[in-house]
C-alpha cells in the first residue's frame, strides 16, 4: 500500500525573500539612496582636500581663490532605474581623468599669474601692463614703467651718445605680473575626486539603509 503526500509551497513561506526580490527589481529607490550618499560623500571629500590645493597661491604669497571649495558646494546627484549619478561642475575636474592641455582660445596667449597682486585676476583688469621679453622665448606682462619695449630710450639706446647702454628700467623676473604662454599642460591628478573604494563604501552605507527601510516598511 502506498501513501500519497501532497506538499504545497505557497508564497507566504518566504515572505522576506519575496519582498526583497520585489524591492530590488525596480532599483530606482536604491539608486536614490546611493546618489544621496555619493553626493554627500563627494562634497565632504572636496571640502577636505581644498585647503591642500593652494600651492600656487602659497608660493606667490597671495590669497587663495577657494575655487575648489566653491565647486564643492555645486556637487549634485540624480538617479534613475539604471544608475545613480553624482555631478561635479568645473573645469578642474578634467584633471582627475588625465592630463589636460590648455590653449588660448579667444586670445593669442595664456596669462599665468606671476605675482600675488595678479593671482586670481585677469590681465584685462589691469590697464597699465606692457610686454617684456626675457630671451629664449620667455615673455611676460610687466608694469608699463618697467617695460623697455617700444622706445629707443627704453631699449637702452642713448640718443645723445648714439650708443647702446644697459636699460635703466629692465624688469626683473620677480616683477612679472603675468607670464605669457601659448599652452600649458596640467598634470593628471586622480586625488581631485574620491576613489572607487570611497564610492563603494558610500554605496554600501546607502544599500544598508535602503534594506533597513524595506524591512521596516514591509514589517519583516
Amino acid at each position: 500500500m502506498s501513501l500519497a503526500v501532497n506538499v504545497a509551497v505557497s508564497d507566504s513561506a518566504t515572505p522576506a525573500l519575496h519582498a526583497l526580490h520585489e524591492a530590488l527589481t525596480d532599483k530606482s529607490e536604491l539608486h536614490a539612496y546611493m546618489a544621496s550618499s555619493g553626493e554627500a560623500g563627494t562634497r565632504q571629500y572636496l571640502r577636505g582636500i581644498a585647503p591642500h590645493t593652494h600651492t600656487t597661491a602659497e608660493r606667490l604669497g597671495a590669497s587663495p581663490t577657494n575655487y575648489l571649495l566653491k565647486r564643492a558646494e555645486l556637487t549634485e546627484s540624480s538617479h534613475s532605474a539604471d544608475k545613480a549619478t553624482v555631478t561635479v561642475n568645473g573645469a578642474i575636474f578634467q584633471r582627475a581623468l588625465g592630463p589636460v592641455t590648455v590653449t588660448a582660445r579667444r586670445s593669442k596667449w595664456l596669462t599665468i599669474p606671476g605675482t600675488a597682486e595678479a593671482y586670481g585676476k585677469s590681465a584685462r583688469e589691469f590697464n597699465d601692463l606692457r610686454v617684456q621679453f626675457f630671451g629664449k622665448g620667455l615673455m611676460g606682462l610687466v608694469k608699463a614703467e618697467q617695460s623697455n619695449v617700444g622706445t629707443r630710450a627704453r631699449a637702452g639706446f642713448d640718443t645723445e651718445r648714439n650708443t647702446r647702454r644697459p636699460p635703466l628700467l629692465n624688469a626683473g623676473r620677480g616683477d612679472v605680473y603675468f607670464w605669457l604662454k601659448k599652452s600649458v599642460v596640467l598634470p593628471h591628478d586622480r586625488t581631485l575626486l574620491p576613489d572607487e573604494l570611497a564610492y563603494a563604501q558610500w554605496a554600501e552605507i546607502a544599500a544598508r539603509a535602503y534594506l533597513r527601510k524595506v524591512v521596516r516598511e514591509r514589517g519583516l
Partner: protein, 461 residues
C-alpha cells in the same frame, strides 16, 4: 563606478536650472528697500541693489549661469573683467551711476567701495552670493527627498569657507533656536559647541531671516547671510538619534516650503471671494483681471514706500545740517562761514561735474560740440569740442579712453594758468585747455588735451 566627463553646455544641475529660471529686475533700490518686496518677486528675479540698467543685469544673470556651469571662461577673474568692460561700455560711473540715474537721486558711490558696481568687492559679492544661493537651494530640495531624508535626517551647520571676519554663529544659533522654541534642534549638540538640527526644523528659516539678523538673506538654505562661509554637513540617522533628535516629522510641509520658484502669474479663477479680499489686503494695489493676478501693484507700492522713506531721510538730514550750521554761525561766525563755504563749494563741484558728464556723453554720442558744458571755478565756462584742429575730445576719446571722466577731473582738479593755456591737475591726470580758439581770444576755455603723468612721453627722434 565610472567617471564620465560631460561636455560643457549640457549641464543637468539644479543650480543651473534655478539660475536660468529667474528673470531680471532693474532697480534703483538699496538692499534695505529691496527687503520690502514680496518674497516671491525676490526669489524669481536676479537683481542687484541700485542697478537700473537692464542690459547689465541681463549680462550679470548670464555670467552667473556661466559661473555655475563651470565651463570655458567661467573663472571669477574672467567674468569680472567682462562685467567691468560692459559697465564702461554702457557709460556707468561710480559717481553718477548709469546714464539717467540722476533723476532717481541715487547717491554717488566711492570708487572701489561696495556701492561701486564696477569694484572687485561688489562684483565678487554678487557672484559669490548668487551662486552659493543657487547651490544651497538645490541642496535643500534634494535633501528633503525621501531617500536623502531617510539616510541623513539632519544637518550640521559648519564652516565650509574661511572668512576674514567671522560672525558669532553659536550665539545666533541659540537666538534662532529660542525663537522657534528648539523645534527639531539638538540641545545636546550645542553643549558640545556643535549646531545640529533636523532638516525639517524651522531653525534653518530663522537663521536666514532678516527679522532676526540684519545681514540675513531671507533664505532657509546656505549661505543664509552675505559672505557667511557657512554650509551644511549631512548627519546620518544614527548620529542624529544619538544627539536626541527624532526624525520623521513635518516632512510634507518642509518639502512644500522648499518647492520650486513660485509662478510669476497666478490665476484667481476658483478663489473664494473672502480669500481674494484677504489676499488683496495683504498685497497692496493688486490687480485682478481676466482671471489673473498681477504683482505690478505690489512692486509699485513698494517703490512708492521706498521713495517716500528716502525723501523723509533726506529731509531729516537737510534739517539737521541747517540746524548745525545755524548753531555754528551763532557760536563762531568765521568758522561757520568757512564750513558753509566748503559745503557750498563741494556741492557746487559735484553739480558741475554731473552737468559736464551729461554734456560729454552728448559730445561723444553725437560727435558734436557743446558750448558752456560746465563751469570751473578759476576758469569760467568750458566748451567741449569734438575736434579742435588735430586735438579735442575725439583724440582724447580714441587715444586714452578717458573722455567721460574728464568733467570730474575738471571739477576736482587744481587750476594753473599760463597765458592762453590752462592746466587742471588732479593726482596723475592733467587736462589741457586753451582760450584762443583758432587764434581768436575768447572768454570760454576749450578742452583740447589730456596727459597721464604716469606714462612717459615718447621722445621724438
Amino acid at each position: 563606478m565610472t567617471i564620465v566627463s560631460i561636455p560643457y553646455g549640457t549641464t543637468l544641475s539644479d543650480a543651473f536650472a534655478f539660475a536660468r529660471a529667474r528673470g531680471i529686475l532693474p532697480t534703483w533700490m538699496g538692499t534695505a528697500e529691496l527687503r520690502e518686496l514680496e518674497e516671491g518677486i525676490r526669489a524669481r528675479a536676479v537683481f542687484s541693489a541700485r542697478t537700473t540698467h537692464a542690459d547689465y543685469l541681463q549680462a550679470l544673470r548670464n555670467e552667473i549661469l556661466t559661473l555655475v556651469e563651470g565651463g570655458y571662461g567661467s573663472t571669477e577673474a574672467e567674468i569680472r573683467a567682462r562685467l567691468k568692460e560692459l559697465l564702461a561700455e554702457v557709460g556707468y560711473d561710480p559717481l553718477t551711476g548709469f546714464p539717467g540715474d540722476e533723476e532717481l537721486g541715487i547717491p554717488a558711490a566711492e570708487p572701489g567701495s561696495l556701492r561701486d558696481l564696477s569694484s572687485d568687492r561688489r562684483i565678487n559679492l554678487i557672484l559669490d552670493t548668487q551662486t552659493q544661493a543657487m547651490a544651497g537651494k538645490g541642496q535643500q530640495q534634494r535633501g528633503l527627498q525621501p531617500a536623502a531624508l531617510d539616510l541623513f535626517p539632519a544637518y550640521e551647520f559648519v564652516r565650509v569657507r574661511p572668512v576674514r571676519v567671522s560672525r558669532e554663529w553659536l550665539k545666533r544659533w541659540k537666538t534662532a533656536a529660542d525663537e522657534i522654541e528648539w523645534e527639531g534642534v539638538s540641545r545636546e549638540a550645542l553643549t558640545k559647541l556643535r549646531m545640529v538640527a533636523l532638516k525639517t526644523s524651522p531653525i534653518w528659516a530663522a537663521i536666514g531671516s532678516s527679522a532676526l539678523f540684519d545681514d540675513a538673506l531671507d533664505v532657509a538654505h546656505p549661505p543664509f547671510c552675505f559672505n557667511s562661509g557657512m554650509g551644511w554637513r549631512e548627519v546620518e540617522r544614527d548620529e542624529a538619534e544619538a544627539l536626541g533628535l527624532k526624525p520623521g516629522r513635518a516632512v510634507k510641509q518642509a518639502q512644500k516650503d522648499a518647492a520650486r520658484l513660485p509662478p510669476a502669474v497666478t490665476s484667481s479663477n476658483g478663489l473664494d471671494d473672502d480669500f481674494l479680499s484677504k489676499l488683496k489686503t495683504r498685497i497692496d494695489n493688486i490687480e485682478a483681471a481676466d482671471g489673473k493676478l498681477t504683482m505690478k501693484g505690489s512692486v509699485d507700492s513698494a517703490v512708492a514706500r521706498a521713495l517716500k522713506a528716502r525723501q523723509e531721510r533726506t529731509n531729516a538730514l537737510c534739517d539737521a545740517l541747517d540746524a548745525e550750521l545755524l548753531r555754528l554761525e551763532l557760536n563762531a561766525g568765521t568758522r561757520a562761514g568757512a564750513l558753509k563755504g566748503w559745503i557750498t563749494r563741494r556741492s557746487g563741484a559735484v553739480k558741475q561735474a554731473r552737468k559736464g558728464m551729461q554734456a560729454m556723453r552728448r559730445v561723444i554720442a553725437g560727435q558734436q560740440d557743446v558750448l558752456d558744458a560746465m563751469h570751473v571755478p578759476g576758469l569760467g565756462s568750458i566748451d567741449f569740442r569734438w575736434k579742435v584742429g588735430g586735438r579735442g575730445i575725439r583724440r582724447i576719446h580714441e587715444d586714452h579712453k578717458i573722455a567721460k571722466r574728464l568733467p570730474w577731473l575738471l571739477a576736482r582738479g587744481k587750476v594753473t594758468k599760463a597765458k592762453s593755456r590752462a592746466f587742471v591737475e588732479w593726482r596723475d591726470h592733467v587736462v589741457v585747455l586753451v582760450n584762443d580758439f583758432f587764434g581768436t581770444p575768447s572768454n570760454h576755455w576749450v578742452l583740447t588735451g589730456y596727459r597721464d603723468k604716469k606714462k612717459r612721453r615718447p621722445k621724438s627722434p
